[in-house]
Symmetry: C2
Subunit: 382 residues, 2 copies
Amino acid sequence: MSSLYANWSFPTSIRFGVGRIRELAEACRDSGVHRPLLVTDRGLAKLPIASNALEILADDGLECGLYSEVDPNPSELNLAAGLETFRQGEFDGVVAFGGGSGIDLGKMIAFMVGQTRPIWDFEDVGDWWTRADAAAIAPIVAVPTTAGTGSEVGRASVITNSETRVKKIIFHPRVLPTAVISDPELTVGMPPAVTAGTGMDAFAHCLEAYCSPNFHPMCQGIALEGLRLVKNNLQRAFVDGADMEARANMMSAASMGAVAFQKGLGAIHAISHPVGSLFGTHHGTTNAVVIPQALEFNRSAIEGKIELATAYLGIEGGFEGFLGFCRELTTSLNIPTNLTALGAAPDRIEEMAKMALDDPSAASNPVPMTYENTLELYRSCL
Amino acid sequence: MSSLYANWSFPTSIRFGVGRIRELAEACRDSGVHRPLLVTDRGLAKLPIASNALEILADDGLECGLYSEVDPNPSELNLAAGLETFRQGEFDGVVAFGGGSGIDLGKMIAFMVGQTRPIWDFEDVGDWWTRADAAAIAPIVAVPTTAGTGSEVGRASVITNSETRVKKIIFHPRVLPTAVISDPELTVGMPPAVTAGTGMDAFAHCLEAYCSPNFHPMCQGIALEGLRLVKNNLQRAFVDGADMEARANMMSAASMGAVAFQKGLGAIHAISHPVGSLFGTHHGTTNAVVIPQALEFNRSAIEGKIELATAYLGIEGGFEGFLGFCRELTTSLNIPTNLTALGAAPDRIEEMAKMALDDPSAASNPVPMTYENTLELYRSCL
């Protein structure tokens, strides 16, 4: 395992390796944080990995606090209460700890603490991010405890508007954490279903980034290598949660997926988001269900590129072989093979198709998405 | 060509695309530079691309200066005179413009302007970089005019000690430029031999990073995609210097090579550096000459990995096919097939072997390098 240990300098400073959570206090100090507020969700707050992290901070003499009023889809209400805690405790930085929810909300507390405008003014639209006072953003140390969203290396958070239930992407370049501790041991306790769903989220990020027609060769390479890591490790981590080599490679793949999708996402995310919004399904699992159909949908535009990838991934049979591999992978992870089985109502696909076309991911899909072909795509997923 | 146009956020802010040199003044302002000193080498300073850059700055109302007393292997004497120019002109940032020489020295002027210790105290040894006052480093906007070293995205410069003639690597994380303008049009004037030599430098960076046994999956993916770009574009750029698509892809590959080699270099660089030091040969061209022999040298450790790469690169015949491709590529670029033809004296290989083992690149070579096998490797390159 010593070979899966490294310090990486981009997209931010990453300390990667088993046991490196012990460097949490040092990472805080290096980031200029002397009074950290650890932000995580309610479930994680009760687990030993969270109390251990707080202990590491306290043992080093850092006065720290805990804020865990974070919903699975964090809202501006969670944010407001978190900001109140941050200010009252006179904290000077955030440890964003968790899966996507804890990390996303933690990032937003650090971002919003010095702003005067409401959070929705910083939605990822045009150059709205330039409205923010960048100098007022508090430092963020991110600690992922799942291997999926990759929010620890992302420059945005997803926040749900509690009134409209609509999810908004809040973007600022300085929302990228100052430092990341990627300790695969923290993911060992994930139940197999969560390992599967989050892992397939990473796979979908890499796959759509790889297929996106946008010009970003670094992301293309990162996406391809990320696909290879998921292919070789997700099933292993699912079967044996304590397989630390598989856990480490999946943790790396998750970060890589989030870096890579700066190149663009596509139909998988566009049609998966509405299903999640309307039926509360798990994001990564929903992505996994629709992968084969989205591949077929894009076949004319991506077949050659997928064939090149299969060669590197060690998958035989070109595009068909890759499709077969995706189907086998999801089946082996006990993921349903269609959206109906997952809980989506077939009679609402017209509504979902409209929502999918409004999704930012739709624009970078290799084959242009229309209402008609998106409806057809949903039908093929039922 | 509009498709080869993008803004990239890592490892630093990169504006990539034909004609983007027009954004130089904006990139300076965004980086907090209002009085830039443009640093480049003597040859480039006389070319229209340099005067055009100065004009763009002046037209925007930025008072700028020019410093071009930069040797092909820049020394601490070039640095001292540059620092004097920077201070006397009361500049507040550097436009590091050129091939490796201009960019490397420009970065060092920005780095050293606020330091009190001599430059050699910041050699890339252990944590010596922490001796520097990071807050005193002036902002750097880098503008590459070749497609090879990738210094525009690197956190180090190579400075030659004028007394000992030894090259030292000076490292600091904040030596990474604040912003980069990658405009492929600036490379159109490169003569074919320089296109070939610098392009093969990028290829060698990608190849050694890809083969390095160190754990850095992002760099592994970036290296692989960089190899693909060089494979598909270097010969085109060599034959037709105005082929802008090939120039753009090579410019991207060069940056990718420099990002990727954070994963490690190897025998190619270790044995090439002494040849350059003793006989003044071109760095990238020297790398190119020794690639096939270095591949054979490492065969036992890298054969499987190279086979995976060939599949993605579209090269048939596995490891042998890749070897053949490398030989054909260098031949088609009019690069000599051995070090003797390049100008190295065969009777000094004992000396070179000792120097190669002292080179920092030797440590991350896939097959451990010893005096005996390094001597043998040199013999195979004569």
